[in-house]
């Protein structure tokens, strides 16, 4: 928590400081894990989630209208959600630029070590996907692996977005269970 307090000093008056920092620290203790999970869901990257979370706490600490905020937790998640949208937007601009240079390369967003997936896991994933109805695995691959949003997948597959979400949900649960099974023989 030392880091948060240090950040706080940069933008706050000493009068409200200790009380407000305590509030934010409490928020961090109780909800940081959920916040990171929420952001990772949005950004599909653990390291990006951590960066954006850090940014969100900073904004919470430098909040100048504390009295207008009813629930700090809700506010934290709203700020974080908006920051995630910004980041996705920036990433898209960068992604389009990268795509213009090379069609096949995915964005070099992640360190390969952090997210490396074992060869056996890929084989297990293929098996898991082949067990699913074709539309279920297709929706999943287009959204999670190719990185297209629900609307674009729905258009390609000529389905409603709701159906696409339904397929992605089923595939996610199935693939997670299957990959787990492999990790714990």
């Amino acid at each position: 928590m030392g880091k948060l307090s240090a950040l706080a000093f940069e933008g706050m008056t000493t009068v409200t400081l200790s009380e407000h920092v305590e509030e934010i620290e409490k928020l961090f203790r109780e909800h940081n894990r959920a916040l990171i999970a929420f952001l990772q869901c949005r950004l599909n990257s653990h390291s990006d989630a951590q960066e954006v979370a850090q940014d969100a706490y900073l904004r919470m600490l430098t909040l100048d209208n504390r009295e207008d905020v009813e629930s700090l937790r809700s506010y934290l998640f709203r700020i974080a959600g908006n920051l995630a949208i910004d980041r996705l937007r920036k990433r898209k601009v960068r992604g389009d630029f990268v795509a213009g240079q090379s069609q096949d390369e995915p964005m070099a967003e992640e360190s390969p070590v952090h997210h490396a997936i074992a060869v056996e896991q890929v084989a297990g994933l293929r098996k898991a996907l082949s067990e699913l109805p074709p539309k279920t695995s297709q929706a999943f691959v287009l959204h999670v692996i190719e990185g297209r949003d629900f609307g674009s997948v729905a258009q390609t597959m000529n389905l409603s977005e709701r159906m696409v979400r339904y397929h992605v949900t089923n595939a996610l649960a199935h693939c997670r269970a299957m990959v787990d099974e492999q990790e714990m023989p």
Binding site: Q40, C41, S45, R73, V122, D180
Partner: protein, 332 residues
């Protein structure tokens, strides 16, 4: 599939992941999700595991990524032909007398070879529940993938009672001919490249998929119960006739039925049931056609009666039966 259904927490986690993913997920959704994570510590753990998998898959190396997109991300073609798949899958099948099954799992296409010995019909149930009665001395290969069930009838005869599945077409290839199930039971007989299809229930689509120059292209016939289609490889023509279910499936009960078939075709099919191979010595006999029934448990008496029906002679040489012109001197 079973396991993910058994784990409601994991399924709920995946559901939340999808709901939170939408950038327009409102504060209320997030509050509900936070409440859910607060209910049980396993909830957030399951959610994190879903996150972890999704993050891994979102940042695959380009080769793996493209491979998966190619394999699963493309729309399943509604009517893919069986030929390319069959050609793509190289396999070695060890085939002996009786029925032998070779199971080879090639990534996504499961290939099985079924065959039967002379004078021996076999019954199979395919993995999708489809019932197959395989005639004697017949070979077929099944190529089953997620989106397609393809059968290659290499030789002989088979009767299919298909478990229909709109998302997984059932297609039987026999040489130039492709038969596509539309909820049905049907018989396919292949004699060399000559193919007859008899439908006993429902409908099938019969297509000529040959790429031969000069062949009439793109012909597709819809054939319904009680109808019979014969494909002649020499003319690439398909002709329609009628045949009852009893006639079409008679071979399963020792009865071979033929409607206006060349004698050579009749003999070739008879040989699938005959312990003694029958040969046609004179090519003019090929022009004779036969309509009628042959009992496979009484082939000898049929052969004995043959000279009464046709101007030909039946001789036995060792283990072989030879059919030849009645008057060799008058030949030509």
């Amino acid at each position: 599939m079973a396991k993910s259904k058994q784990d409601p927490i994991l399924h709920a986690a995946a559901d939340w992941w999808v709901r939170l993913r939408a950038p327009d997920a409102e504060g209320e959704t997030i509050e509900q999700w936070l409440a859910w994570t607060g209910e049980d510590r396993r909830h957030l753990e399951a959610f994190e595991r879903v996150n972890q998998l999704a993050s891994q898959l979102g940042s695959l190396d380009s080769v793996t990524r493209q491979g998966l997109i190619k394999a699963f991300g493309r729309t399943v073609a509604p009517q893919r032909r069986w030929m390319p798949l069959a050609a793509a899958a190289s396999f070695v099948a060890v085939v002996l007398g009786g029925a032998y099954i070779t199971w080879i799992s090639l990534n996504r296409v499961n290939i099985e070879v079924y065959n039967s010995a002379v004078a021996q019909n076999r019954d199979f149930t395919l993995p999708d529940g489809t019932q197959v009665a395989l005639g004697a001395a017949s070979t077929m290969t099944t190529h089953f993938s997620r989106g397609q069930r393809q059968i290659d009838l290499t030789s002989g005869e088979a009767f299919f009672t298909v478990v229909h599945d709109n998302s997984r077409p059932f297609v039987v290839g026999a040489g130039d001919i492709s038969v596509r199930d539309i909820g049905t039971a049907f018989d396919v007989r292949r004699t060399g490249d000559r193919v007859t299809i008899a439908v006993t229930q429902g409908r099938v689509q019969v297509s000529n998929i040959s790429q031969k120059p000069g062949a009439s292209q793109g012909g597709t016939l819809e054939v319904t119960a009680g109808q019979l289609v014969s494909y002649d490889p020499n003319t690439s023509a398909m002709s329609m006739g009628s045949m009852t279910a009893e006639q079409a499936t008679g071979w399963q009960d020792h009865r071979l039925e033929f409607v206006d078939e060349p004698l050579s075709v009749v003999i070739a099919n008879l040989n699938r049931y005959s312990r003694q191979p029958v040969q046609i010595a004179d090519t003019d006999l090929d022009t004779l056609t036969y309509t009628g029934l042959i009992r496979t448990d009484a082939i000898d008496s049929w052969l004995d009666a043959l000279p009464k029906l046709y101007p030909l002679r039946v001789d036995t040489h060792g283990n072989q039966v030879i059919l030849s012109d009645e008057h060799p001197a008058a030949h030509r």
